[in-house]
């Protein structure tokens, strides 16, 4: 027993360690002395310094009494990118945020959330002991969400504009008056005594091409770029400024160095490589779930909702089990849940090998959902009971040398006539082989099932074409490697691969697989495409217990029902080539020139036509001057130098040199690793001071928008008119100085075209709120006086009344009081939504009554169009969809073969990419495998990045988080450690071809052999880790903020490329942090 016990707990403790709670009495003697020396007497006799309750409730009657000294308001957390609805408790006298928990109306924080109509008073009571409501109705904030309020009072905040006085990055600043700041940035001049710097006014050249020889690059205005991070509810405002108003094409988010590879892989299957839709498992109903490269309940998005649902599922009575496939064990696993939770270690970056092995096994064993895959179109699929459909039966031309080799066969190939501009576009249908008619038909006309595994020749017009169905192409790709080879590649034993595949295909549509940020490897795109394809093989999209797309958000921007937050007179439609080169190389002058010269490939640097905007390529492109250099860069709350693997080593020296990038302006509440190189830093609002409307990123299948509004007074310096300086005031002032369209006294217009002002943040966000309030069948209700009072909206009531129309402000107040607008949670399934507002596409003959019944899956669908005036949208009374269909369905086909990917050529090699999921060993741009360049003999280990539930890239400043989790020792399997003679606590140098860092080793069985696991969020150089001098004051610094190492400082550049660059996925252009070649040397 003793022996067993010892081995059972040989190695332990991931966080909040063993010793944490045992630390109590080791220093007792010292304490006794302290008492003698005197301490502050606790405020309360029995309750020490605990806070006074925000309200009290009579547990017998539910009567609520408010503590008049405190305010509880519902708003948004921006402590990570989930953007949960939270309740913020504020000391009214000091404005200090005391504590943060969850908003009970928000599905991001409560399960289930309160109905939207619930009065605020009742919402407070729902959180209490009264009838034990607060247990079932609890609404939570996570550990980080509880801690980030500390940032509000951080000594490291930037509260007033400042300008550098020393060289770039030298941490020497001087305060600058706001007006002077605007003047210098707009007009330029000899701003730093280093020579002339062009200001934004001069750089706004909408006419002159950047390069007359390459007109496709666009006008010089494109040489002003703006890097943002994520849409925390304000991105549309920034977009309006930089693109529509200022006129530059170049604005980019952080996706390519976050989880972009997953999104791109998913986008390939969902048929949209720019918006990259994705689906998440329905954790409330799924029976078996595989998580690959994502860790539910440990990290990921929506963090709490996934955590709550996974906890409920693994402890509940419903059938449920799950497997986490990951090179490192995290809190996503729970030993307490027994067999319901399992961890399967895998080699880094090889998820595609596992997924392709499963695909091969599923196809060979015929365990795929044939009924789902044979449906040729949405209509036939729906009629036979499928809630979504795929293009498995669509035929692809597979004829090397043919002009349309790799393209889908289209209706126009069969002789359908289209105007030239519509040929081979969306309206030109695909073609299937009809099983009954035994002939080719366009997919829209197919009435029954189509041939799934078509592989043959067919007469098409005058030609005999070799055609394969998408499913045949997927099978062919999957069969390229044996199961044993796949197993060897990914390190997952064959019997586990087969077991996973068998179990995955044993629950009908009530199984799911999910991925996310762990896909950021050198073959991330194909790994992700392969992983998500498993969902399509069992046809689980839009089905209860399967995968669901987000229910979407209520739109604040756009041409809304109350205000036009989209278009304006004089707006610019930016054009040209984005600096991240996410467009086809073949459309460039360089290509034409090189082709004429006889060698079209390689391009000077890779191009990524199947990717969204790529921050991963931005800064190196700007420094290389390819496709063109940047003249000015605006950084808004982003930190690419911390987050892009390998970037710092590539461009740190260049950034210091103003000749290479003449003007850098950062808008940020802190000095981070990137804004430290700025010429100017402008403060921004933080957390609960700030405005914004954000949707759920995924994982919430009802429609919802979370509201963020200033529940406390912003701390930044105030302008003479009382506005706090922030992102909005800065851009508004820039626009005003340059007289840009779309801002100013008549910058906006209401829905009738009447002008209104855009001069203050609330002009934008409150009117966006009015748009949200009026969406749907009926507008939201009006807030009562009590709602306004109890929720703290009373504090900003004057702003609402001043900015909005009399009929609007109480409706907006209703939403602010509740922290957003939420569709009824019970409407997640079975609701038939009105068709999209496109009268042409959905016009039914007036007076016609259509009735259709399909019994194959017990579906009854009645469509009735009532007699209606020509201008009035037909009112439809239709039966709901089946109760296990998602209300918000994705209705485009799941693509087993993506023709855009399949016909794209690698701009280095000129070779075509695979259009189906496939397994590729990670390789550099010219196709050289990473392991060939950096062989195992020299680099025996592989680095991976993972997250804890507590730290992210910008949370280290929260002292109380550091108190629980202060450091990130690098984790190594004991077998590897034994080989290297290392023990827990040893100091090592961690080396990759891209960098070197001194680290502490911790031995963990929960790490795949051959792997060094580095937790994200540490190794900061800024955010308070370094002292800056502002004016004549030296700011404080905190060495604990610098603890640990940052894996991204050791990212690779691509040795097969020229100039500055970082190693990225060849299709998605996303950065690589999983599977970096590495070695450890004892320090």
């Amino acid at each position: 027993m003793e022996d067993k016990r010892r081995s059972f707990l040989r190695k332990a403790a991931i966080g909040g360690g063993l010793t944490a709670f045992a630390a109590g009495f080791s220093t007792t003697a010292g304490r006794m002395l302290d008492h003698v020396l005197g301490k502050d007497q606790p405020k309360q006799r029995l309750n020490g310094n605990s806070l006074a309750p925000e309200f009290s409730v009579n547990p017998a009657t539910g009567a609520l009494s408010i503590n008049p000294e405190q305010q509880v308001s519902y708003t948004m957390c921006t402590g990570c990118t989930t953007f949960c609805g939270v309740r913020v408790r504020i000391d009214k006298k000091t404005g200090k945020v005391l504590r943060v928990a969850g908003n009970p109306y928000s599905p991001m924080s409560a399960d289930p959330p309160l109905p939207f109509q619930t009065p605020i008073r009742e919402s407070f009571v729902s959180l209490t002991r009264y009838e034990e409501k607060g247990l079932a109705g609890r609404s939570t904030a996570c550990g980080r969400g509880n801690a980030v309020l500390e940032q509000m009072d951080s000594p490291f905040r930037v509260l007033a504009p400042m300008k550098r006085v020393g060289p770039r990055g030298s941490s020497q600043w001087q305060p600058i008056e706001f007006d002077q700041l605007i003047k210098e940035i707009v007009e330029g001049g000899n701003l730093f005594g280093e020579g002339e710097v062009q200001g934004l006014r001069a750089l706004r050249d909408l006419e002159t091409p950047i390069d007359a020889q390459q007109p496709e690059l666009g006008a010089r205005v494109n040489q002003v770029g703006l890097m943002a991070s994520t849409n925390e509810g304000r991105l549309a405002f920034v977009d309006r400024f930089i693109k529509q108003s200022y006129g530059s094409l170049n604005m980019v988010g952080h996706g390519s160095y976050c989880g972009g590879a997953y999104r791109s892989g998913s986008g390939a299957m969902f048929g949209d490589m720019k918006k990259m839709p994705h689906a998440k498992p329905d954790l409330e109903n799924v029976e078996f779930c595989i998580f690959i490269g994502t860790a539910p309940g440990n990290a990921g998005n929506p963090f709490k909702r996934q955590g709550t649902l996974i906890a409920k599922a693994r402890s509940g009575n419903k059938q449920f089990s799950y497997v986490v496939v990951d090179p490192v064990l995290t809190n996503a696993d729970s030993l307490a849940a027994g067999d319901r939770s399992r961890w399967v270690p895998i080699k880094p970056g090889t998820d595609g090998a596992l997924a392709m092995a499963m695909i091969r096994w599923i196809i060979e064993q015929e365990r795929y959902d044939r009924h789902y895959l044979v449906q040729p179109n949405l209509k036939v699929a729906e009629a036979s009971g499928e809630a979504s459909w795929s293009n498995a039966t669509h035929l692809v031309i597979v004829q090397p040398g043919h002009a349309r080799d790799g393209r889908y066969l289209r209706g126009s190939d069969l002789g359908m006539v289209f105007p030239e501009e519509e040929r081979y576009k969306d309206k030109d249908p695909f073609v299937v082989f009809d099983q009954v008619a035994k002939k080719l038909v366009v997919h829209t006309e197919a009435r029954g099932v189509a041939e799934l595994f078509f592989d043959g020749e067919a007469q098409v017009g005058a030609d005999t074409l070799k055609l394969k169905s998408a499913m045949s192409l997927l099978r062919e790709e999957a069969l390229k490697h044996s199961l044993a080879d796949y197993s060897a590649a990914c390190g997952v034993p064959l019997e586990i691969i087969e077991g996973l595949a068998r179990e995955f295909t044993s629950h009908g549509k009530r199984a799911a697989v999910n991925a996310h940020g762990g896909m950021m490897s050198g073959s991330g795109f194909y790994n992700a495409y392969a992983v998500v394809m498993l969902n399509t093989l069992i046809g689980n999209l839009n089905r209860q217990g399967g995968t669901l797309v987000s229910g979407g958000s209520f739109k604040d921007v756009g041409e809304g029902p109350r205000y036009n937050l989209e278009n304006f007179a004089g707006e610019v439609k930016p054009s040209g080539i984005p600096i991240g080169r996410n467009v086809p190389y073949e459309k460039t002058s360089e290509f034409k020139r090189k082709k004429e010269g006889g060698k079209a490939y390689p391009a000077q640097a890779p191009w990524y036509p199947n990717a969204p905007g790529l921050a991963s390529e931005w800064l190196t492109s700007a420094i290389n001057g390819y496709p063109y250099p940047l003249k000015a860069l605006i950084l808004w709350s982003c930190n690419p130098l911390y987050g892009v693997p390998g970037l710092r080593a590539q461009i740190e020296k260049d950034l210091v040199d103003p000749k290479k990038l003449p003007l850098i302006v950062a808008v940020d509440p802190f000095i981070n690793e990137t804004s430290a190189f700025a010429d100017y830093i402008v403060p921004d609002s933080l957390l609960y001071e700030s405005w914004g409307w954000a949707g759920a990123w995924g994982g919430v299948a009802v429609k919802m928008s979370t509201a963020r509004w200033p529940v406390v007074e912003p701390k930044a310096q105030k302008l003479p008119d009382g506005q706090a300086i922030g992102m909005e005031t800065f851009f508004i002032a820039l626009a005003k100085a340059m007289q840009l369209p779309g801002f100013g006294p008549t910058g906006l217009a209401d829905n009738e075209g009447q002008p209104c002002s855009l001069e203050r943040p609330e002009d934008w966000y409150l009117r966006g709120g009015a748009n949200i309030a009026w969406q749907g069948k009926t507008p939201v209700p009006e807030a009562s006086d009590e709602d306004i009072e109890l929720s703290g909206v009373a504090r900003i009531r004057p702003l609402l009344e001043k900015t909005l129309k009399p009929e609007e402000w109480r409706k907006v107040a209703f939403m602010l009081a509740r922290g957003g607008r939420y569709q009824n949670y019970k409407e997640m399934f079975g609701l038939r939504l009105p068709p999209p507002a496109d009268p042409k596409a959905h016009a039914a003959p007036a007076g016609a009554v259509l009735a259709k019944t399909s019994t194959s899956a017990g579906i009854k669908s009645l469509a009735a169009a009532t007699v209606a005036g020509a201008a009035v949208h037909a009112v439809k009374e239709e039966a709901p969809y089946p109760s296990d269909w998602a209300t918000h369905r994705y209705t485009k086909p799941m693509m087993l073969y993506n023709e855009n990917v399949g016909t794209t050529k690698n701009s280095f090699t000129g070779k075509r990419f695979s259009g189906t999921p496939s397994w590729h060993e990670p390789a550099f741009a010219d196709g050289t495998p990473v392991r060939k360049k950096y062989p195992e003999a020299e680099w025996p280990l592989q680095l991976i990045s993972y997250k804890s539930p507590l730290q992210n890239s910008y949370s280290i400043g929260a002292r109380r988080l550091r108190g629980i989790h202060p450091d990130n020792p690098v984790a190594l399997h004991p077998d590897d450690a034994a080989r290297l003679g290392l023990h827990s606590g040893d100091q090592v140098y961690l080396e990759t071809p891209g960098g070197r860092a001194k680290a502490t080793v911790i031995l963990r069985h929960g790490v795949q052999r051959g792997v060094v696991a580095v937790e994200h969020g540490f190794g900061h150089r800024e955010l308070g880790a370094r002292a800056h001098r502002i004016g004549d004051k030296v700011q404080p610094h905190e060495p604990a903020i610098a603890a640990g190492i940052n894996l991204n400082d050791m990212g690779l550049s691509d040795p097969t490329r020229n100039g500055r660059n970082v190693f990225v996925d060849p299709v998605a252009g996303t950065t690589v942090r999983q599977g970096l070649p590495a070695r450890l040397v004892r320090a």
Binding site: K39, Q41, N47, L51, P59, R99, L329
Partner: protein
């Protein structure tokens, strides 16, 4: 089905439950019942804990817990057994024992049990001698280095008395912490305790804890012997 899963993902060896356990504490005889209307207690469903430390931080914020001290925390273990490795998460706090060993050792009578079972420290009386800290078998007490007094979880008595829930319960993301009145026959904790075989930490100490663990592996009932993290709460008490 279950069988096939066991085959491909080696099951955790069966854990012997029951034999080595002390019987569940005699809840009915808790001090609270005779005198008080309520007997507050907590049930921790360990399968639901995701180790996010929301409880830990909310407690710190609510109760002004000084840096590097904790009234509650989630101990998180990496457990290695044979070829299998998994994560075990165990929330810890004061057990508000029916037989609290911390009380009799107090030389000034500062620490006592309220009639509703909550063990508290009277800050006016406490001299910070830390005898109670040493007497607690659960390491649930510490000397607050800001007040110089013994400090510990109070079940957020200031909130509970106001009709609210303890901070850690309000914000438990996994829903693992369930709080209520054992004297109320309709309360959730009463139902859970009646309908499940609950475990407590260190039952052999005879302390009769009133934090009950649902689904606790018996090997975590006592002091867990493993290698700690490399980190120790820096400066705790320093």
């Amino acid at each position: 089905m279950i069988q096939s899963r066991r085959n491909f993902l080696r099951a955790l060896p069966a854990i012997t439950v029951g034999a080595a356990l002390a019987p569940a504490p005699a809840i009915a005889s808790a001090a609270g019942e005779e005198e008080g209307k309520h007997r507050w207690a907590m049930v921790v469903d360990v399968q639901k804990c995701i180790g996010c430390q929301a409880c830990t931080v909310s407690c710190i914020m609510e109760n002004a817990v000084p840096e590097n001290s904790f009234r509650t925390i989630v101990s998180t273990y990496e457990v290695h057994e044979g070829k299998h490795t998994g994560t075990y998460m165990l929330p810890r706090l004061c057990n508000h024992c029916a037989n609290p060993p911390c009380i009799p050792v107090c030389p000034v009578g500062a620490t006592f049990q309220r009639k509703d079972g909550v063990v508290v420290v009277d800050g006016d009386r406490c001299v910070g001698c830390a005898y109670c800290v040493q007497a607690c078998p659960y390491d649930a007490r510490f000397i607050n280095h800001e007040t110089g007094k013994a400090d510990k979880c109070t079940f957020c008595a200031h909130r509970v008395d106001a009709g609210l829930l303890p901070a850690c319960v309000e914000t438990c993301v996994g829903g693992a912490r369930i709080f209520g009145d054992l004297n109320n026959p309709n309360s959730k904790v009463r139902h859970l305790v009646d309908q499940n075989k609950m475990k407590v930490l260190k039952p052999e100490m005879g302390t009769q804890p009133h934090v009950f663990y649902l689904g606790l592996d018996e090997r975590f009932q006592g002091r867990v012997e493993g290698e700690g993290t490399l980190w120790q709460p820096s400066g705790h008490g320093a």
